[in-house]
């Protein structure tokens, strides 16, 4: 529980896309603002579909939005 091993650049990408608000992004990808907040705080790892939707909104590849860091025990 807590911080996930998947981190993201959503906050930075929002800033570089005309300072898009969390609410605007939430509406575009079809989730609540709370979910965007949880993702930005690395408290929630989105589904693959949602991850692709977010990457598409920012017109960048998935790897530019999300990055995965393996834990020491390999999980």
């Amino acid at each position: 529980m807590g911080k996930s091993s998947i981190s993201n650049n959503i906050r930075k990408l929002r800033f570089f896309h005309n300072e898009m608000t969390q609410q605007q992004l939430a509406e575009k990808v079809g989730v609540t603002r709370q979910t965007i907040i949880a993702m930005e705080q690395d408290k929630y790892s989105p589904s693959l579909e949602l991850a692709f939707r977010i990457a598409r909104i920012f017109n960048v590849p998935l790897e530019e939005v999300f990055s995965y860091e393996a834990k020491e025990d390999g999980k």
């Binding site: 529980m1 989730v31 979910t35 949880a38």
Partner: protein, 151 residues
């Protein structure tokens, strides 16, 4: 706090109150020698109906309360309430339901154990409702924890 979190909080408070009322009534019956099948099954019925009705009414009130809160906060006459359930809400709901089922199953097992210790069936039936309500409370707490701590 999101709309879903408010709903869970309302449910949590409701079930804590119902459990409190149920326990108070059971102890009253025990002290007044009224711990009879008629009284206990009547209490069963009242508790279950109260749980359903209170949950429905309080959910509606929470919805109205959210709308009023939004109007006061934003000044918008047609407030937009985020009452959609997205993938995160569904996942948290599923995990919470799993916790509720596990707690409920353990409760049923504990209630059944009273037979092993030679207790009358009424004790088992009283404990079934107690653990049912407790499982709901534990499930709601786990949902709120998942919202706050993340997963």
């Amino acid at each position: 706090m999101s709309f879903q979190q408010r709903n869970i909080t309302v449910s949590l408070v409701t079930f804590i109150l119902i459990l409190g009322l149920y326990m108070t009534r059971v102890f009253q019956l025990l002290q007044s020698d009224g711990f009879t099948p008629t009284n206990i099954f009547r209490l069963w019925g009242i508790t279950i109906i109260l749980s359903i009705v209170a949950t429905i009414i309080l959910t509606i009130l929470a919805h109205i309360g959210s709308a009023v809160f939004q109007v006061i906060k934003t000044g918008d006459e047609n407030p937009k309430i985020e009452d959609i359930q997205d993938e995160r809400d569904k996942l948290i709901d599923l995990r919470g339901t799993r916790v509720t089922y596990v707690a409920s199953s353990l409760g049923v097992l504990a209630a059944m154990l009273t037979f092993v210790f030679g207790q009358p069936p009424l004790v088992m039936f009283s404990l079934l409702v107690f653990f049912g309500l407790l499982a709901q409370i534990i499930g709601d707490i786990s949902r709120l924890m998942l919202y706050r701590r993340g997963f």
